[in-house]
Symmetry: C2
Subunit: 657 residues, 2 copies
């Protein structure tokens, strides 16, 4: 038999991912708003709190919840420590509150309440026994007073209500049946600007391959543009068997450098550096130098090998055999990639394999790396990622994993659920206003926002979209603004991107011509068409505007021209400064000037229909009207977007946090 | 460490109520359509089945699932036995299917597939070991053939594909982490027409109180109207202390009969019958006589007592004491109901109390009752209902519980989740087209449809709505049609309803004047305005049309007049008969003729824009057009609605079952 006396029901706690199987994500200092359906039989008043604590702490903290409407309650708490934080909901019948409510009704009806005051005195006396110190004394006195001549005055006093609220705890409180988790990351997991570059192309001298030292010399260039993560493709020795030549051709010349993702050769594998880049010591010096420039080095972890990787000889049991005894190379039938061997993650020897792969992360953590971009995680088991990320984050909760999965939506979401802190997205292929709205509404207004942190890349070494190919520099500029304002996290693969390199390998293909994956490039960073000034300016704007450092408040605004995409983001600054409000309007047409009207729902102020807005890209000021639509005009030859700082309070949408 | 090798993920199984905490509901013979997100890392083909079984059976049955789109899979199974049925989802990597798909691609690209055929032979050989009899032999032969000169022909043969599908079982299948439940009821839980009447008003002689024998004499009247449940308010001895007089007045005359809900007196309590109604033997005879008329007697169970109930003296520990030592009467402050004592469900003696209340159901089950209408369940703990309904249904899975909870939506839903098979609704107060659409869309298109079975009552002894008061007979007629066609389950409180008795106690109150709750009424059943012919006709239509025997396919149709509410229901008949399709158009205006156009999306047939529809109420036929809207006109003085049998196939909505 169940215990009859837990009368309160707690249902539909939100956020809760897959019945509590997966944690939600936050960064240090953020708040978690929790809602729940809470109700009981009958007509009693209820009390309801969030219970929460860092996993390592033994004691629960309480945060109050308030009735919103229709048995829905809401409260919030803040997470202040890296790692795992727990929360759940507790509720109980609030006998005192019920009693006080009923007493008031009886008094209003002029009824005799002597027996009721006695009942109240019993409740207050019980609370006095739970309380300590001054509260206990005050409660004992109130219990006495309720039975005295001024009992009704005591009963309805605000002082007693407050005292009793502090010591409210009904018999048989209900605790929600699941304890839920928050993964608390550091702030960079939420807010970061990534710059990807190939070290071997960093040499200032054409013809000489770049080194870690050359990357060090490039740091001021990257830092001045305002990036904070410097992401390097694999830096390991590259296999020779089946090595690809320029533009992914078969049969490389001896001088061809090969793809950095064909990992492993005579000089080592995932824990070695390519000798031409320098030594491990050089790499560590780069990591430290980057830090001095406000940059954090992120490494690419690709769990696959070239046929020459030491693992192939040392651990043939980690690879699948074909019936003819050879090792199964990577395939996407009928395509064959004989230069790449995948691991057999579900081989009978999976345990030692997994441990070894975990040690790859540990090795680079020991060298000072705390951010990993993981290559194609969707071709390895989810269970592996959940395990390995858990292993690492238990000891290094500051480590950030970016999932490079361009695959089906549910698979991408699942990778984030099992632990990836950020993920690549479909952003690169969302060009029209309607599809950008639809996609970013999904990312910011559905449950996905609780665990999936989009990282928006207009390009990667693998992705030169048609939009960029056709739209030239103006398309790069507008895609950059979209990435850096729609997303608190974004990245570019440079210098190809800022130099607006948009020549494809061939029509209809998204591959770069002369891709750095297969050859070393020399870049003229001072090309006049460089987007460097725009990038530097916008990264500065992002740093100054908390609204752009998060995505939860993103909402789209109506425009009367579908080539104009408009959206607002808002964030609290510190209490004294009020709120930060940024409205971005992007001209999605890289060719033609577009004009139109944008609806910005701002707080009306009697007699003051106009208010000032300032374009953060240009410094220009405009006057907008709160009682209607506002005119904008954008010429792609001049600027891709307005990024407006708005002083008049924007009216929030109902669901806004 | 987790087992790496369960690579398939199963998420978002639907239906699933509160993470599997509560069962869904079906009746015997119904199907359960199950969907799930099913996917794995990589690009392998998957196989997926529903596992299901009656709880009492040890072995799982399998029902196939098919990929719908975007990693969403769907399948269905049928429940054929009363009680609890279990289901879950199992999936695995289908190595043979993956192999066959890849082989085809390789063949198309003209590649050498000798090694691949060897690989396939291994898979087929493994399946041969799982198979038995002829299949095992055939598989062994196929494995040989794959290695022979005609290997590719064998590989791509449909025969082998079928054989392998029958014996597909990957290594390390994933079983969904929760086993889900279906409560399987008898058909009447889904499809029933209820008639409520006060036995004491059933006497044909004015002045003499009615008896069970009088109810027996009334059975043909009720049965001829087509009802199948005869529901009686409490039939127990009535308390004298604080008895209410006519129209809920205080201070009853000695001749006043009192409210049947003030249960218990000198002659007994919940397990006794009121002596004026007859004996227990008379009641049992009534139950049997009803059965012969196709009627099932439902009893009202109200867990509360009059101050004179034997429990009050025998078990004072089951009631709450006030500080002055008296028993706490029912209250809704400042209102006091001194003639009613509620039980204290969470008293320290709750266990014996609960057992006693359970035995009340058992007692009436022993007298042949299998349907209970439970009074105000929302003022008793949910845990009690879950326990007591579980206790009863474990032994008597045919018992049906109707929840009489008119309260907050989440509370009503919860009562259904914990076990009530049917529930009262807000139907009585939904009058406008928009609010009817909104409410019935919620009831039939959201998760609620899986556990909440609405039972629609246009009136009850407590509820004479303003719409009925103002709209007279025409309003009663239209509300009747709405109840009986929007809901597969509905009920009326008669004879007040069919006689269109609509005089309220006073303006602004929903109480009947001269309510049968407090006095005995004599009804002239032959009043000419009686709705009896309409009721009889529509109940016959309901019996003949499976479309009206369920709610899941309800969908609303567009009209250009908001006083016309139009909706369709469809159901499969037996395979040979095709599908049953009923379109109902109700004139919501009880006063004025309304006309307008209704959009009925029917299958177009080239050259045949017109098709016949037949009004099931009147027998009239009309020709409708499939390529547009159709005109209708309804005069409340003539008929409240069209109920059209439609022969041309209605186009289904995407989400339709």
């Amino acid at each position: 038999m169940i215990d009859a006396r837990r009368r309160v029901v707690i249902e539909r706690v939100d956020p809760e991912i897959d019945c509590g199987r997966y944690p939600i994500k936050r960064v240090v200092g953020e708040r978690v708003s929790v809602e729940a359906d809470v109700f009981a039989d009958g007509h009693d008043e209820l009390a309801c709190v969030i219970l929460h604590r860092p996993q390592a702490e033994p004691r629960w903290c309480q945060a109050p919840m308030r009735l919103v409407a229709n048995d829905r309650w809401r409260g919030e708490f803040q997470v202040d420590r890296l790692g795992c934080h727990l929360y759940t909901v507790q509720a109980w019948v609030d006998h005192f509150h019920t009693w006080a409510r009923d007493l008031l009704r009886r008094l209003e009806a002029g009824q005799d309440v002597r027996v009721d005051l006695d009942l109240g005195a019993e409740l207050v006396q019980a609370a006095a026994q739970r309380a300590k110190g001054a509260d206990a004394t005050a409660l004992r006195r109130a219990a006495e007073a309720l039975k005295g001549p001024k009992g009704t005055r005591t009963a309805v006093s605000a002082e007693l209500a407050e005292l009793m609220a502090r010591h409210s705890l009904g018999h048989f409180p209900t605790v929600y049946r699941r304890v839920l988790r928050v993964t608390v990351d550091r702030e960079r997991a939420r807010f970061s600007a990534w710059y990807e570059m190939f070290p071997r192309s960093a040499s200032p001298e054409p013809g000489r391959p770049g080194t870690f030292a050359d990357v060090e010399a490039r740091l001021p260039y990257v830092a001045e543009m305002g990036f904070d993560v410097l992401y390097l493709p694999p830096i390991h020795p590259i296999g020779k068997t089946g090595r690809k030549g320029p533009n992914n051709t078969i049969g490389a010349a001896p001088s061809d450098p090969g793809s950095p993702w064909a990992i492993g050769g005579a000089r080592g594998g995932h824990k070695s550096v390519h000798p031409e880049l320098g030594t491990l010591a050089d790499f560590k010096r780069l990591v430290h130098a980057a830090k001095r420039h406000g940059l954090e080095v992120a490494l690419d972890i690709a769990f696959q090998t070239s046929p020459d990787h030491p693992y192939v000889r040392g651990h043939p049991e980690w690879f699948r055999k074909r019936p003819d005894g050879t090792i199964q190379y990577a395939e996407n039938p009928p395509k064959k990639y004989q230069d790449i061997f995948p691991f057999e993650f579900d081989s009978p020897e999976w345990r030692p394999l997994w441990r070894e792969l975990c040690s790859v992360f540990e090795f680079w953590i020991d060298q000072g790396v705390r951010i990993f971009r993981v290559d194609n995680p969707h071709t390895k088991p989810f269970a592996f990622w959940e395990w390995v990320i858990g292993q690492i984050r238990d000891r290094y909760p500051e480590v950030i994993f970016l999932s490079e999965a361009f695959t089906k939506p549910k698979v991408m979401y699942r990778l984030s659920k099992v632990g990836f802190n950020q993920s690549y997205t479909y952003f690169a292929w969302r060009n029209e206003a309607w599809e950008l709205k639809e996609y970013f509404t999904e990312l910011t207004r559905t449950e996905a926002r609780e665990y999936f942190r989009p990282n928006l890349w207009p390009n990667t070494p693998d992705i030169l979209t048609e939009a960029l190919q056709r739209g030239g520099r103006a398309a790069s500029a507008l895609r950059f603004v979209l990435a850096a304002t729609l997303g608190a996290r974004y990245g570019i693969y440079g210098p190809a991107f800022e130099l607006a390199e948009t020549a494809p390998l061939m029509a209809g293909r998204e591959e770069y011509l002369g891709s750095e994956k297969y050859q070393i490039r020399h870049w003229d960073l001072d090309r006049p068409e460089s987007l460097r000034p725009l990038i530097a300016r916008l990264n500065q704007v992002r740093r100054e505007h908390p609204a752009l450092q998060q995505d939860r408040t993103l909402r789209f605004l109506a425009t009367d021209n579908h080539m104009l995409l408009a959206y607002a983001k808002t964030a609290r600054r510190t209490a004294s400064e009020g709120s930060d409000q940024v409205v971005t309007i992007v001209n999605l047409d890289p060719r033609w000037r577009q004009s139109g009207w944008v609806e910005v729902p701002a707080e009306p102020r009697p007699g003051k229909p106009g208010y000032a807005v300032r374009d953060l890209l240009t410094g220009s000021s405009y006057t907008w009207r709160s009682d209607g639509w506002n005119y904008v005009e954008l010429d792609p030859a001049v600027q891709p977007a307005h990024i407006m700082s708005v002083e008049r309070t924007l009216l929030p949408l109902p669901e806004e946090a």
